[in-house]
Amino acid sequence: MAVETPPRVTPGTPPTAAKAGTEQPWKERWGGLFFVAPFLLLFVLFMLWPIVSGLWNSFFNTSLAGVKHEFLGLQNWRDLFGDPAVWSSLKNTLVFTAMSTPPLVIIALVMALLANRKGLLGWLLRFSYFAPFVLPATVVTLIWVWIYQPGFGLVNGLLTAGGFAEIDWLNTENRAMLAVVITTVWWTVGFNFLLYLAALQGIPAQVYEAAAIDGANGRQQLFRITLPLLSRTTGLIVVLQLVASLKIFDQIYLMTTGGPNHATRPIIMYIYETGFTSYRIGYASAISYLFFAIIVIVAVAQFKLFSGRGEAE
């Protein structure tokens, strides 16, 4: 399989064993820890500790208001499985993931194929496709809420000009999620586009030249060479995209606050509402753990699927 990653540093020589230094044995033995220590300290404080305290809290009825902290045993966990809001928000998360992932992969690929060219045009194309990705979520949603606005927004303005009926995108149950997905594709497709572009630029020109000599036309080159060579990149992008889509919160909170009638509320928003709006820190911790488990399962499954096919990127 051809290398698809872009140019990177070549090891000049194979790593040699650490040279026995002139330092004292103690310093030699433990000195390395000093370099790792700052990161480790932050890692323990702001990742390990919240993971542990979150698990701990999930067995208590801890309240944001600071008035309660009683041991509940597995009560939160039992409640969790009987809480329809957990399952409906989980379903919304999965629906969003299923709706957003295919276009985010396919459009990114098309963009990369179109923009893989040099010169000013290439620069302009790369700028246009990726520009939305550098905007904050709030700016993106302010713009799109305005675009979807009934009465005088851009989309409805075009619909009415074309003789169609207006759609109140963000307040109609089976349109709101679609509206969020469209916004998300516009906003984040640029990242996948760049991953594809990097992979495309890593395909050696000789491969195409050889194919051209063999008489392959552009279409054959695309389907017989380019796309097969991109398959590993596609795998990587799908992995990254699935995990990213499952973590959806920003756009939905800012565009619909989970409405109408909770039809777009994702699981992270339910965690937020439970923990901070309803003060139920303990219960929110339990829901967080359910979601955490799902993410880990998805990620590990994908890792199993893609490991053994070359080095993990």
């Binding site: 009825n61 600071g66 309660k68 901070f276 003060y279």
Partner: protein, 429 residues
């Protein structure tokens, strides 16, 4: 590759040092020793614009106070931020809070008590408020809120339409009606004139109308300690049936959201409107002929769903005495200047203003002031109050009634089930 590193380290150090210096400066806040008052509120509409004007006057009169006001989005976003900031300990000096949400906000941990001695020193006494309002601000023997206003559910009426319908008395004001039949007759007369609807209502959120009617039937909601739902099914249904009847007779629209409620009254499709009193500025700006009155006593007793905006001191880990003093003086100043606030529709809670000629001359804002003692607050529970979960559940259950999508009986069952689920959820406060 030759390592070239000479300018690298000092450069970064300088940048970092500069940054930390900046942090230290901004971390300490203002360098001068002016007391600071940061105020958070949730008034995003017409009342917010009015508040801004009042604040401008306050700032002009108080150059010795570092004053800062912020408006956050109404409802859950505001209350969530306020709770998180109180939990975090670096909350603003003062914030607005709906009185109906006081107990659910866990005042003993999330708020600091109001120092009554400072309030008295600033010229505000307990006797300046209606006892019922004041009592609601006291939790566990301590004062946690100072009421600014009350905002009942009221009747708006188009004076031209109602005059044609023969509903106005010789003084040009609407003649009060009492009882279901006179109430319906009045609405039918209005409908005859408009040819469309009698009243504009918000069918997507009928809580205020329903709770007003249910309250007028003397219905109870929770038991004494708010642990059980004691809803009187017959009374609850009677109120819901009336709402359904209004829609089926075409006296109210079958489907209208809040924006439509305002629009229908403004453009004359409806000759009356049932709503909170805060839209007065909107209709005055539209230069339409209208006035306001207490909501009719349709059933047995005068009760009007409503709430009260109060000032509270969110909990601070390290409260500064000078700031607190300035904050209490700010609250007192706002109360004494609440006639400008009242022009936006709200009834002043501070009685010296409520009885002042300036307020009494405000028309139509002073027309419904008599309802103040009979304002009916939302039921007492941690999930209840303005914009809280109980209201949302009622909206989900009751919004299909006017449209005929759900029978009052089924809607009531859904609402009771949802309320029971909230009651069964262990209280976090």
């Amino acid at each position: 590759m030759p390592p070239d590193h000479a300018p690298f380290r000092p450069g970064r150090r300088a940048v970092l040092g500069g940054l930390l210096g900046t942090l230290a400066l901004t971390g300490c806040g203002a360098l001068n020793s002016k007391p600071k008052v940061r105020e958070w509120n949730l008034f995003g509409g017409g009342d917010g614009a009015r508040l801004l004007q009042i604040h401008q006057q306050y700032v002009a009169e108080h150059p010795d106070v570092a004053f800062e006001a912020h408006t956050l989005a109404w409802g859950p976003p505001f209350y969530t931020k306020l709770a998180m900031s109180a939990a975090g300990g670096r909350s603003p000096e003062v914030a607005t809070l709906h009185l109906s949400r006081l107990k659910g906000f866990s005042p003993t941990t999330m708020l600091d008590p109001i120092p009554v001695d400072l309030l008295n020193a600033a010229g505000v006494q307990q006797s300046d408020f209606l006892p019922a309002t004041w009592d609601r601000c006291v939790v566990d023997g301590k004062l946690y809120a100072v009421p600014l206003d009350q905002h009942p559910f009221v009747l708006y009426y188009n004076t031209e339409i109602c005059k044609k319908a023969g509903l106005l008395g010789p003084d040009g004001k609407i003649k009060p009606v009492k009882g279901v039949t006179p109430f319906l007759d009045m609405l039918r007369a209005v409908k005859d004139v408009t040819g469309k609807y009698a009243v504009s209502v918000d069918t997507t959120s009928p809580w205020r109308l329903w709770y007003t009617l249910y309250g007028q039937l003397e219905g109870e909601f929770f038991n004494e300690d708010s642990t059980q739902l004691v809803l009187d099914d017959a009374k609850a249904l009677e109120a819901l049936d009336l709402i359904a009847k209004l829609a089926s007779e075409g006296l109210t629209p079958r489907s209208a959201n809040y924006a439509a409620l305002v629009a229908m009254f403004t453009n004359g499709d409806a000759g009356m409107s049932f709503n909170g009193e805060w839209e007065v500025t909107t209709y005055q700006t539209a230069k339409m002929p209208f006035s306001m009155a207490p909501f009719p006593v349709v059933y047995d007793v005068p009760k009007f769903q409503g709430d009260s905006h109060t000032f509270v001191l969110p909990h601070q880990a390290h409260r500064n005495a000078d700031d607190t003093k300035a904050t209490i003086e700010y609250i007192a100043w706002m109360l004494k200047h609440s006639v400008e606030w009242a022009a936006g529709g709200h009834i002043p809670a501070y009685q010296p203003v409520a009885k002042s000629p300036e307020y009494l001359e405000l028309k139509p804002q002073a027309e419904y002031r008599s309802t103040a003692p009979n304002v009916l607050y939302d039921p007492d529970a941690w999930f209840s109050g303005s914009g809280a979960q109980l209201e949302n559940e009622s909206a989900a259950a009751f919004s299909g009634i006017a449209a005929g999508q759900i029978t009052p009986k089924a809607a009531l069952a859904q609402f009771k089930a949802a309320t029971q689920k909230l009651l069964d959820t262990p209280s976090p406060v």
